[in-house]
C-alpha cells in the first residue's frame, strides 16, 4: 500500500530531526498523537499538531506521560495508527504501559529523544543511556523493535519504517533518537506519496463469532480487530488465551510468552537493518548507533590516515540485536571499538556475541555532549596495537575524562 498523498508534505526542507519525525508520522498514516511536553522532544509533537489536524488527524496534550501512552494504546484499539513522543523522565513513566502494549500486541510508535541522565539529568543536551531501558524497561518478558536514526532524513524515513514494522509485527516500536539528532537541522527530502510504502493494519475480515484476537498467523502475528465492530472484544493485560480470556497456568504462560518473543526473534532477519563499511578486511570494527555513529565517521577517518584498517558497523536497528552478524565479524576481527554516550550498555551485548574471540573497547561518555572524534581514533589505535587477549570490556580513557579526573578541568567561576 502507498501513502495517502494528503498526508505527505512532499518537498525539500531544511528542518530538524524532531520536526522530520513528526512529518514522517503523518506520512506513515498516524492519525492520533498524545503527548506531554518535555524537552528535547517537544518540536516533534508540535510539528504533528500543526499539520495533522489539517488532514484529519487528532492530537491531545495529556496530563502526564502515563495518560499519553494509555490514550495511544486506546486509540490503536479504536482502529487508527497512533504514536507518542517523550524523553528522559517521561520515558520512565511510560514503562508500565509499554509492557501492557506488548502484552496486548498493540502496534504503536514511541519516539524517545534521549537526553542526559539519570533522573531529570540534562534536559537540553544529549545522551544515549536509555538503550537498555528501551529493551528491558517494562517488567516481564517481551521483545520489541528499536531504531537509532543518525540524521533528520533518517528521522523521517525511520519513523515511517517504525510504523510499518509496528503494524507488521503488532508490537511497540521505539525510535531511540537523541537530543543531537532531534535538534540537528539538515536537508530533508520528503518524496512523493507513491514512493512511500505503508503497511496497513492486519484487520480480521471473517465472521465476528469466529474471531480469535490472539490466534497467530503462520508468522506468529495475530490479526487485529477494533472496538465498535461487534466483535465483543475481551482484551486484557492478564495472561490470556487465543480468545483473549484470562488464563494462569504455566503451560499457557510458556506458550504465550514464547510467541511474544519469538514473533520478533524468528523474524529478526527481516527486521534488522545494518550499515556496514569496509568490514571485510578490517582489523578493527567500530560498532555504533545514533549520533555516535555520525561522530565515529570522523574518528574512523583519522584512524585510517594513521594507517589502520578500520571498518564500521552501524546499528540502524539496535533491538533486536544482530547477534549473528557480530559473531561472524568476531571470527576475523582483532577488536571492536564501541563509542556510546553512556558508561557501557550496547557494548555488553557486543561482548556477549563476540564471546571472547576479539578484544572490546568501550569509548564512554557521561552525557550532555558527544565524543571527541580524536578519542575514537585513539581508541581504534589502542585496539590495533594491543595484541594480548583482554577479558571483558576495556574502558578507554578519553581526553575529557583525563581532563575531569586528572586535573586541569575547572568550573567557570
Amino acid at each position: 500500500m502507498k501513502a495517502n498523498p494528503k498526508h505527505v508534505l512532499t518537498g525539500v526542507y531544511y528542518i530538524d530531526g524532531d520536526v522530520a519525525s513528526g512529518y514522517g508520522a503523518m506520512a506513515a498514516g498516524c492519525r492520533f498523537i498524545a503527548g506531554y511536553p518535555i524537552t528535547p522532544s517537544t518540536e516533534a509533537f508540535e510539528a504533528f499538531c500543526r499539520w495533522g489536524p489539517q488532514v484529519g488527524a487528532m492530537f491531545i496534550q495529556m496530563e502526564d506521560e502515563l495518560g499519553s501512552i494509555s490514550a495511544v494504546v486506546g486509540a490503536v484499539w479504536s482502529g487508527i495508527k497512533s504514536m507518542t513522543i517523550t524523553s528522559g523522565p517521561g520515558y520512565s513513566l511510560m514503562m508500565e504501559t509499554i509492557g501492557y502494549g506488548a502484552m496486548l500486541e498493540t502496534p504503536f510508535v514511541l519516539l524517545n529523544i534521549q537526553r542526559g541522565g539519570p533522573s531529570t539529568g540534562v534536559p537540553t543536551k544529549t545522551g544515549q543511556a536509555d538503550m537498555m531501558q528501551s529493551r528491558w524497561g517494562s517488567h516481564g518478558d517481551y521483545e520489541l523493535i528499536a531504531f537509532a536514526p543518525e540524521s533528520p532524513q533518517e528521522m523521517f524515513d525511520y519513523t515511517i519504517r517504525a510504523f510499518n514494522l509496528a503494524e507488521k509485527y503488532r508490537c511497540p516500536v521505539m525510535i531511540m533518537s537523541d537530543e543531537c539528532v532531534g535538534h540537528m537541522t539538515e536537508k530533508v527530502v520528503i518524496p512523493e506519496a507513491d514512493k512511500i510504502d505503508i503497511e496497513p493494519r492486519r484487520f480480521y475480515t471473517g465472521p465476528p463469532e469466529q474471531y480469535l484476537p490472539f490466534k497467530p498467523d503462520p508468522d506468529l502475528v495475530p490479526k487485529m480487530a477494533k472496538a465498535g465492530d461487534g466483535f465483543k472484544l475481551y482484551i486484557t493485560g492478564l495472561l490470556h488465551d487465543e480468545k483473549g480470556h484470562p488464563v494462569s497456568n504455566e503451560e499457557y504462560s510458556m506458550k504465550y510468552v514464547k510467541r511474544l518473543v519469538d514473533k520478533i526473534r524468528l523474524n529478526k532477519d527481516k527486521i534488522i537493518e545494518l550499515k556496514e563499511e569496509n568490514t571485510e578486511d578490517a582489523d578493527i570494527v567500530v560498532v555504533s548507533y545514533g549520533i555516535s555513529s555520525r561522530v565515529a565517521v570522523k574518528g574512523v577517518e583519522i584512524a585510517r590516515q594513521r594507517g589502520i584498517k578500520v571498518g564500521a558497523l552501524r546499528l540502524v536497528t539496535v533491538w533486536p540485536f544482530p547477534d549473528e552478524k557480530i559473531a561472524e565479524l568476531a571470527k576475523k576481527t582483532k577488536a571492536f571499538v564501541v563509542p556510546e554516550i553512556n558508561y557501557g550498555q550496547v557494548v555488553f551485548d557486543v561482548a556477549r556475541c563476540v564471546h571472547g574471540q576479539s578484544n572490546i573497547v568501550l569509548v564512554p561518555h557521561g552525557g550532555a555532549g558527544v565524543h571527541n572524534p580524536a578519542d575514537i581514533a585513539d581508541a581504534i589505535e589502542y585496539a590495533a596495537k594491543t595484541d594480548k587477549q583482554i577479558e571483558g570490556v576495556v574502558e578507554f580513557k578519553t581526553r575529557l575524562e583525563k581532563l575531569v579526573f586528572e586535573g586541569g578541568f575547572k568550573l567557570k567561576e
Binding site: P53, M62, V73, A75, T97, A227, L238
Partner: protein
C-alpha cells in the same frame, strides 16, 4: 451474572444505544462471561488507566460510547479523573466504591470512611460527586447496588450525555468472580437501612461519614461543550477553511446519524 453487571445490562438496554458501539475500559477484571452477555467491547487496562485509555478510544473513534469502570479511580487514576472531567471528555465514568481494596485483604482506599474498614482508617475519604462536580462534570450521581432500578435509569441517562458523567456505585465488594449469593446479607441490609435518596442535593453535602446516612441520587445535570466541540471550534478558528471538524459531536450525530471517525 452478578448484581452490578446485570444493572449495567439493564441501563444499556434502556439507553437504546447499539451495544457494539459501547466500549468498557476498566482496571477491574470483568469475567469474560459478563462481557459476552453485555455484548460490548472490553479492555482490561493497566491499573488506574481506564480514563486515559477511554480517552484514546473516544478520540480514535468519536462514534463510540465509552464507559470507563474504575476501581483505582482516585489513587492511580486520580489525576486522569480530574483532567478528564476538566476537558469534558465524552465518557461515562463508573466508580465502583466498596470503600476498600476488597481483593487485597481489605487495604484502605481513598474512599474509606472509618466504619467500613476492617482496621479503621484515620484519613479523610474523597467525596466523588463533589470532586467531579467541582471539576465540571456534566452529570453526577450516586447509588448503592441495592438501588437497581434507579441505577439502571441513571446509567441509561448518563451514557448519552455529551460530556463527562460520573456515577458512583456503593457496592458490596465488586468481586466479579463470586456469585450474588456470596454477598453478605447483612451488608445488603446495611445499605438498605443506611441510605437515603435525595436528588439534586448540593454535591458538597453528600460526603460519606460513618455517622450519617449515605445520600444517594442524581446531584448534577448540566451542559458544557465537550473536548471535541471546543477542539473543533478553536482549530476551525485558527486553521480556517483547511480544517475539517474532527469526528462527530453529539448534536451533529442527531442531525446526520453517521461518522467517518473510525471507519
Amino acid at each position: 451474572m452478578n448484581l452490578i453487571t446485570s444493572i449495567f445490562n439493564k441501563g444499556i438496554e434502556t439507553s437504546g444505544i447499539e451495544r457494539k458501539r459501547i466500549s468498557i475500559p476498566s482496571d477491574i477484571p470483568f469475567s469474560p462471561e459478563v462481557i459476552e452477555k453485555l455484548g460490548v467491547d472490553y479492555f482490561h487496562t493497566a491499573r488506574g488507566r481506564a480514563i486515559p485509555f477511554g480517552t484514546g478510544l473516544k478520540l480514535g473513534n468519536p462514534d463510540l460510547r465509552v464507559m470507563p469502570v474504575t476501581g483505582d479511580l482516585m489513587t492511580l487514576g486520580g489525576n486522569h479523573f480530574v483532567h478528564g472531567v476538566r476537558r469534558n471528555m465524552e465518557l461515562l465514568v463508573i466508580c465502583v466504591n466498596n470503600f476498600i481494596y476488597k481483593k487485597i485483604d481489605g487495604k484502605t482506599a481513598p474512599s474509606t470512611a472509618n466504619k467500613f474498614s476492617p482496621y479503621s482508617t484515620f484519613e479523610e475519604p474523597f467525596n466523588f460527586p463533589h470532586l467531579g462536580n467541582s471539576c465540571g462534570a456534566v452529570y453526577t450521581a450516586r447509588w448503592t447496588a441495592l438501588h437497581a432500578e434507579e441505577l439502571a435509569a441513571s446509567i441509561a441517562e448518563a451514557i448519552t450525555k455529551p460530556g463527562l458523567a460520573v456515577i458512583e456505585i456503593i457496592a458490596p465488594g465488586p468481586n466479579y468472580y463470586t456469585d450474588i449469593d456470596d454477598i453478605d446479607e447483612n451488608l445488603l441490609k446495611f445499605y438498605f437501612d443506611n441510605s437515603i435518596i435525595k436528588n439534586d442535593t448540593n454535591p458538597r453535602e453528600v460526603g460519606i461519614t460513618p455517622e450519617d446516612k449515605i445520600i444517594v441520587g442524581r446531584f448534577t445535570d448540566k451542559k458544557r461543550p465537550t473536548f471535541i466541540d471546543v477542539y473543533n471550534v478553536q482549530l476551525g478558528k485558527t486553521i480556517g477553511e483547511k480544517f475539517t471538524p474532527y469526528g462527530v459531536t453529539q448534536t451533529e450525530k442527531k442531525k446526520s446519524g453517521g461518522s467517518d471517525g473510525g471507519n
